[in-house]
């Protein structure tokens, strides 16, 4: 992908992202009443994140096994209500340590 093409894609990407944020903020003054639409919109973020995480997370590191270690660490810490940064960095640490252990064998 050359620079011109990159900027074209970036423009579309940033433009859509901006409009999705700003348009409702500027224009909409009333609350959406339809409960199905509200629910659909409310579920979207979790569905998106779940689809992006599984199974992608298991192939995000050199070893499948160390990715599993990172994943389990993240799920456990998140379950016990740790902050975003704690969960993210602990998962990294788990991948780091297990990666070195696997390298040793």
């Amino acid at each position: 992908m050359d620079s011109y093409e990159f900027l074209l894609y970036l423009g579309v990407m940033a433009g859509v992202t901006y409009l999705v944020r700003a348009v409702p903020f500027v224009l909409v003054k009333n609350k959406i009443e339809n409960k199905y639409v509200r629910s659909f919109l409310g579920y979207i973020p979790y569905a998106v994140l779940a689809a992006m995480t599984i199974p992608g997370v298991f192939y995000s590191t050199r070893y499948f096994l160390s990715a599993v270690c990172g994943f389990v660490t993240a799920v456990l810490l998140a379950y016990f209500g740790k902050s975003l940064i704690t969960v993210a960095l602990s998962a990294s640490l788990a991948v780091f340590v297990s990666g070195i252990v696997i390298d040793c064998f």
Partner: protein, 229 residues
């Protein structure tokens, strides 16, 4: 008010630094230049959308795919922006909303909604500053250092972004069975796209869209009104 906003934004900024660091590494390892990764972060300020965006670019997907995937993935911001519009005070309107609307993210939204009865424009402006700096600097550092760092470290930080996704899904799913159901359905469909050879032709950007729309529609049909329990 602006000072209070800046102060409240600092923890978000620190968190963003580490997550965007991993985005920077990811972008460079996908063949992007460091300045391209930086521009993506400066112009978008969003994790999931950027991740999907560089996936589409790296796979040379179409512009329509880019637009639709960004629209669907970032649709949650429309919902947040709706809620914010109900809570912004009298002077926070028009041009201010047009400009500051750029700064709506999951974390900034959550903190803003947590403070008092009405949201002042000066507060919201202050709140955006640290996260924006953290997001930008983190991407730059990750993209530049990603080239010279040992692969063991890049490897480990590459999972940080997924860690953040997990940190958003799991507590919500723990509290709310409907969210758990929707996330599980979406993950199951996603695995289907990944492992069943017939679906090879479908790009990962569209796969995410299909997973999200199907799972959320099913969730809305089965559990209407339970998304915010």
């Amino acid at each position: 008010m602006i000072k209070k906003g800046i102060r409240d934004g600092i923890p978000i900024g620190l968190g963003y630094f580490s997550v965007s660091f991993s985005f920077g590494i990811l972008a460079v390892s996908n063949g992007f230049e460091w300045w391209e990764a930086l521009l993506v972060s400066m112009a978008n300020l969003t994790s999931a959308g950027q991740y999907a965006g560089i996936t589409v670019m790296a796979a040379a997907g179409g512009l329509v795919e880019m637009a639709v995937s960004q629209f669907v993935i970032n649709l949650r911001y429309a919902l947040m922006s709706l809620s914010l519009s109900q809570k912004a005070d009298r002077k926070f309107r028009g041009i201010y909303r047009l400009i500051l609307g750029f700064g709506i993210t999951d974390e900034i939204f959550a903190v803003a909604m947590n403070t008092g009865k009405e949201i002042k424009r000066s507060y919201f402006f202050g709140l955006i500053i640290a996260p924006y700096i953290g997001w930008t600097l983190g991407t730059l550092t990750g993209a530049v250092c990603g080239n010279i760092m040992p692969s063991v470290i890049c490897d480990a930080l590459g999972i940080a972004l997924y860690g953040m996704f997990i940190a958003i899904i799991v507590p919500a799913a723990k509290k709310n069975r409907a969210v758990l159901f929707v996330a599980a359905v979406s993950a199951a469909i996603s695995c289907m796209f990944y492992y069943i050879p017939v679906f090879d032709k479908i790009s990962s950007g569209f796969a995410i869209i299909i997973c999200a729309v199907m799972a959320s529609a099913l969730g809305a049909a089965l559990f209407p009104g339970r998304e915010a329990d």
